[in-house]
């Protein structure tokens, strides 16, 4: 029997762009894409981060669970705090989104789940990794680019680094995270897996004027 490997919702799209496939952290990943840090990369890049871990913690006492299990002061709504290899974003007072690198620290997840279960209130943790596409766009024209797809104000004042908004992007509901990398303006778009390919294609079309270039996911 073949080894059970996970595929990103953009598997086929990236397979066409790249030169081959290889296994990383249990995921089939396209190879041959340029690196986002390559000096030759133009002003706008797009990368598939769907393999990144995505956890949802929901419940009135969710902030208590975060404080207890992660020893963090929960962020204000719309903002985030770093934690280990990821960040914890507050989407509502009772809803937190946790973004991690592809290999979620299982001990940490267990601890979080156990703390949630022990909590007197109803707190539910759900691993959404398989059900969400995650697309990162990076470059100095990110704001103009995203403004073609979404009505939010992506300026520094309205959308500082580390902030999160759930909004309509290209007529679909997406969670947008500002997550600058290496002093480069960068946003992450998280949405339903079934819409991932559509969102990717729409972004590539919208980014045509800036020669948007698919790159390797940095964590790869």
């Amino acid at each position: 029997m073949k080894e059970a490997l996970r595929r990103s919702p953009l598997h086929n799209t990236l397979q066409d762009v790249g030169t081959g496939l290889e296994v990383r952290s249990g995921w089939l990943v396209a190879t041959g894409l340029v690196s986002a840090t390559d000096a030759a990369v133009p002003m706008l890049t797009i990368a598939d981060e769907s393999a990144h871990g995505k956890l949802l913690l929901e419940g009135e006492n969710a902030s208590d669970v975060i404080a207890t299990a992660m020893h963090l002061h929960p962020p204000s709504v719309g903002l985030s705090v770093p934690y280990r290899t990821g960040r914890v974003y507050s989407l509502r007072p009772d809803l937190f989104f946790m973004s991690t690198l592809p290999t979620i620290d299982s001990e940490w997840v267990k601890q979080l789940r156990a703390t949630a279960a022990r909590n007197e209130g109803l707190v539910t943790m759900t691993d959404m990794t398989d059900g969400r596409s995650q697309i990162r766009v990076t470059g100095k024209v990110c704001r103009q680019f995203l403004a073609k797809l979404c009505a939010l104000d992506f300026g520094d004042f309205s959308f500082p680094d580390g902030s999160a908004r759930t909004t309509s992007l290209a007529r679909t509901t997406q969670l947008i995270l500002r997550s600058d990398q290496h002093d480069q303006l960068s946003f992450v778009v998280v949405g339903g897996r079934s819409l991932g390919a559509y969102v990717w294609d729409t972004m590539v079309q919208a980014g045509h004027e800036w020669t948007i270039t698919p790159t390797m996911c940095e964590s790869d």
């Binding site: 595929r7 059900g131 073609k148 079934s194």
Partner: protein
């Protein structure tokens, strides 16, 4: 005597005839000569010699880069930076278009993108303004609305003949009886009148898109006032968007060589300012509630959220209405200046300038300096009322006619002369006329503030009789008008007012201090002292056609008649005559129409008011409104595999699903005889957690849930409060606190929101609902070999005893963590396997690989429809509609009316109390032949009258390969539906098909296969 007298008379008559004939011939020759010289020779001379002037200080063209393009099939040259209009004008072209209705020749009028006179077709894009569009190499430009050419338009003489019979609104009065006349006339009218031709096909070159922009202060207009406002607001730290419709900032200063350094300096400051984003060649076309602005830039539509707005859109030069005022060669003074200064094009050789302000003198001076002969400068004003050094020096060099106005332009296809007349002291025309030979007649008699956006923002205007201009009466707090649009014509006042307006709006947006009242009052007082720039005169009466509206060919006579007919309010007049409803959107005609209406009603302009300007202010392409094609499509994790196998895909809501893989009948047989697998990842999938999940389930489902044991699955129907079926599905209980609900694919999103709504309305205590529809791939493995196949891939106990029908298990299948629900929509032994979506394709491929030995086939939606129909299962939304309750839909077994409470309970109790009139029931078609289509009517036929009465409809129907018969579900009156075997008639293509009622499932009616 009589012979002598007769002789004298004959001789006299002969002499008179000879002399008369000679005079007639002389006049004819003279006219022909003049016509030939002015309308043939001169333009030809321009073509040969060119009308391009030597280099001008502020010209936009790059003479080092020359390119070719074609207009009406002829090749022309242009410099980089040339517009189509400037390039053609430089080649001596006078006629740019034919008018909308009468096909009269039209030439350049405004050269600023407002009037309709230079609309051309470029490729598949109609109605492009030649005065705005830059020439591109090898561009193919065509004229619009010509039959067959611009010069020789056959419709022109026909329309000239018909014009007396075609006054404004003639079709309302004539083409309504007999009724068929409009059907005949409409295509003819549409063919005769019109603009360009839009393409009906999608062009790969289309790059339409939209972009959202945000600004603390949005400044509309990049003239001196706008620049000043932008710099001032940005200086207060506000984020500023500066928008201008031209490709360069500077506004009217762009044509002034003496202001070049100032403009360059201002532009440099703007571009260097980090708080200012500048958008040139961008036209704001609408201002909506809360300063939501729409703007276009080529193929792009900007949607702008402006906190505050400074409107500095300046003014539009107002045409004068006189005889033949639409002849090519009649231009606005500013248009000639644009051609002269920006494109170094001589607009004519002999010019008459008609003015009522100092701006006209500037025009005359510019022409004179460019070597164009100014035949006359006719100024409406008294000599005594005007004085300036510039005026005095110009008066010494040019023939100036004080207190004169133009009465007529002459020529066939272009101006060859103009007539001017002196004015009486009361402003009326004297009888004296002076005819002046010329090929250019420039009119500069006043300005109309460009205030359309201000109207949309809620600004109210009043008419200032002294200044002959509209002035704002009130303004919203978040919107301000400044500069020429606010009646400020002097440059220093514009800059001051702009700066104050910028500060004021920035302050209102929370940045910096607002100007003091004294600062504001000072500039308002100063501008009141400015000289008047506009004339009260709008129309000079005569004997030929005088056009107010160039877009729709509306004359002053048309409007006067309309007012006399009772359309005496300006809004009615607009709707009846279509004035101001063409491509210029009233910029050329609105003020003149208001004046005419006021005069005709013997009221004031202020009392008459003005028409409501609505967006879009300028024409906007449908492509720009549509933007980038964004139609979300949802695909399952196995989508690409389906495509690879040649599946025929179908659209189901937002989803793309395989309808079949080539042979749906064979797919059905595979499931019935061996094993098949279908991708049902599209199902709605929700996780419900918490101690009180049964409570919410009891409310939203019609059946009982409290007692459902861990490890069990139950089917449920959902109704709305009216008792109408809205969805169905199964829900599994994994443990005491965690449940897993599935819904129909189409209902996934709506049902999630619906349950959330009820949870937040008081039923959600102790429950959390999480939409996991995209998290799991789901496959239904169905058929007698399903269990045997599955055993190859999992250690989960699958025997009937360990894992019976309507139970759920968790475990590993093909190394993938899965949930297995033993349910049976197809009527066979089947397992619905849910796994993390990322593993979907792996698991799918493993199932197919392991199933090869059992003859597995993937099956699509079509086979599934047949299979479920054989089992008698309904599909919500197909077999039910917005009136179907579960009792009538044959689902009464899933409705527990005796429960405490559930959505729809009260309505369903009433249904039971009143009894059913129709119900959903199975049927078989007796005859062989075509399968009745879904939606066909079921009828009863009166044996005597042969009248048909509709008594029901077919909701599902398929040929069953298993039964070798056509079967279906239909809605029938209960008296028929209740009788097993009762006959009824399906009406198909004017023919009766006999069918009979079937009770129960068509296949495996006792469920033995399902439970095996």
């Amino acid at each position: 005597m009589s012979n002598t007298l007769l002789f004298v008379i004959v001789i006299g008559a002969t002499l008179m005839l000879v002399i008369g004939g000679a005079v007639t011939i002389a006049i004819t020759l003279y006219r022909a000569n003049r016509l030939i010289v002015s309308e043939v020779v001169l333009p030809h001379l321009e073509k040969v010699m060119g009308a391009r002037l030597p280099s001008q200080p502020v010209e936009l063209i790059n003479r080092k880069e020359e390119m070719r393009f074609t207009f009406e099939g002829n090749e022309y040259s242009a410099f980089k930076g040339d517009t189509i209009a400037s390039a053609l004008a430089a080649s001596g072209i006078k006629i740019f278009s034919r008018s909308f209705k009468y096909h009269r020749p039209r030439g350049l009028l405004c050269c600023s993108g407002h009037c309709p006179n230079c609309l051309v077709q470029i490729g598949d894009e109609p109605n492009v303004r030649a005065c705005r569009q830059r020439v591109a190499p090898d561009m193919i430009v065509k004229p619009q609305n010509v039959t067959p050419t611009l010069m020789w338009d056959l419709l022109a003489p026909i329309m000239r003949f018909l014009s007396p019979f075609m006054p404004v609104g003639f079709y309302y009065k004539t083409l309504y009886r007999p009724k068929w006349i409009w059907k005949v006339a409409e295509p003819l009218l549409r063919a005769a009148g019109g603009l360009g031709k839009a393409s009906h096909s999608e062009s790969p070159e289309d790059t339409f898109d939209k972009q959202y922009l945000h600004g603390d202060v949005v400044v509309i207009g990049g003239g001196p006032t706008g620049i000043s406002a932008a710099l001032s607001a940005a200086g207060s730290d506000a984020k500023v968007l500066l928008i201008d419709e031209n490709d360069q900032l500077g506004g009217y200063l762009r044509i002034k060589a003496e202001a070049k350094d100032v403009v360059d300096e201002l532009c440099a400051s703007v571009y260097a300012h980090p708080n200012i984003q500048t958008l040139t060649e961008t036209t704001v076309t609408g201002c909506y509630d809360h300063n939501w602005l729409a703007a276009t830039h080529g193929d792009r539509l900007y949607k702008i959220r402006a906190d505050k707005v400074v409107l500095a859109t300046g003014v539009v030069e107002r045409p004068l209405v006189f005889d033949n005022n639409d002849l090519p060669g009649v231009m606005l003074g500013s248009a000639a200046q644009y051609l002269l200064h920006l494109y170094a094009v001589r607009p004519g050789r002999r010019a008459v300038v008609v003015t009522a302000n100092d701006d006209g003198w500037d025009v005359a001076a510019d022409l004179h300096a460019a070597g164009i002969e100014v035949v006359a400068l006719a100024d409406e004003r008294e000599r005594a009322a005007c004085s300036s050094a510039k005026m005095e020096s110009l008066e010494a060099e040019l023939p100036v006619f004080w207190r004169h106005i133009v009465t007529s332009a002459h020529g066939n296809t272009a101006v060859n002369a103009a007539t001017i007349a002196p004015l009486e002291s009361d402003g009326s025309l004297t009888t004296r006329r002076t005819r002046l030979e010329c090929d250019l007649l420039l009119v500069s008699i006043g300005w109309t503030p460009n205030t359309g956006l201000a109207y949309q923002a809620g600004v109210e205007f009043g008419y200032d009789e002294d200044r002959a201009e509209l002035m704002a009466r009130n303004m919203p707090d978040d919107f301000i008008i400044a500069g020429r649009a606010a009646g400020t014509h002097m440059l220093e006042h514009q800059i001051t007012e702009g700066a104050l307006a910028g500060r004021r709006m920035a302050s209102a947006a929370g940045y910096g201090d607002a100007p003091t009242t004294s600062e504001w009052t000072f500039v308002q007082e100063e501008k009141k002292r400015e000289v008047t720039r506009s004339s009260q005169r709008t129309i000079v009466k005569g004997s030929s056609k005088r056009f107010l509206c160039y877009c729709e060919d509306v004359t002053d006579k048309d409007l006067t008649t309309a007012v006399a007919e009772g359309y005496d309010s300006i809004e009615l007049l607009k709707r009846y005559s279509t004035i101001s409803m063409g491509p210029c959107q009233g910029k050329m005609c609105s003020m003149n129409a208001v004046h005419l209406c006021a005069h005709a009603n013997t009221s004031t302009v202020d009392e008459t008011g003005s028409t409501t300007t609505r967006p879009p202010m300028t024409p906007i392409s449908l492509g720009a409104l549509a933007g980038q094609n964004m139609e979300p499509v949802r695909i399952t994790p196995i989508h690409d595999w389906h495509l690879g196998q040649g599946a025929k895909m179908m659209v189901a809501g937002l989803w793309l699903r395989p309808e079949h893989y080539g042979n749906p009948t064979e797919e059905v047989r595979a499931v019935r005889e061996r094993v098949g697998v279908i991708d049902v990842s599209t199902l709605g999938k929700y996780k419900l957690t918490g101690p009180h999940v049964p409570n919410i389930l009891e409310k939203v489902y019609t059946n009982r849930w409290r007692q459902l044991a861990v490890g069990r699955v139950r089917y449920g129907v959902m109704c709305n409060a009216e008792g109408i079926v809205i969805d169905d599905g199964v829900t599994a209980r994994f443990d005491e606190r965690e449940w897993y609900m599935t819904t129909t694919s189409g209902g996934a999103g709506a049902i999630y929101e619906w349950i959330q709504w009820w949870m937040q309305s008081g039923w959600g205590d102790g429950v959390q609902l999480i939409n996991r529809s995209d998290d799991f791939a789901a496959f239904n493995l169905a058929g007698p070999k399903a269990r045997t196949l599955l055993k190859e891939l999992t250690d989960i106990q699958l025997d009937n005893k360990e894992f019976p029908y309507m139970h759920v298990r968790s475990g590993v299948v093909a190394e993938v963590p899965c949930r297995l629900l033993r349910i049976g929509f197809t009527g066979e032994l089947s397992y619905e396997i849910h796994c993390p979506a990322s593993y979907g394709q792996h698991l799918w491929e493993q199932l197919l690989q392991a199933g090869e030995q059992f003859g597995i086939m993937p099956f699509g939606v079509e086979a599934q429809r047949v299979l479920r129909l054989e089992k008698g299962h309904l599909i919500i939304g197909q077999d039910t509609d917005a009136l179907s309750n579960p009792i009538a839909a044959n689902l009464e077994w899933a409705v527990k009316l005796e429960k405490d409470d559930f959505l729809g309970q009260r309505s369903l109790l009433r249904v039971v109390e009143n009894g059913l009139k129709q119900r959903l029931i199975g049927f078989k078609v007796n005859e062989t032949g075509p399968t009745p289509e879904e939606g066909l009517q079921i009828v009863s036929i009166n044996s005597n009258s042969k009248q048909r009465k509709i008594i029901g409809w077919v909701s599902s129907c398929r040929f069953s390969p298993t039964l070798n018969q056509v079967i279906g579900l239909c809605w029938l009156p209960t008296e028929i539906a209740d009788v097993d075997g009762a006959e009824f008639i399906i009406w198909r293509e004017e023919r009766a098909l006999t069918a009979h009622v079937h009770h129960g499932a068509f296949y495996d009616s006792n469920g033995a296969q399902l439970r095996s």
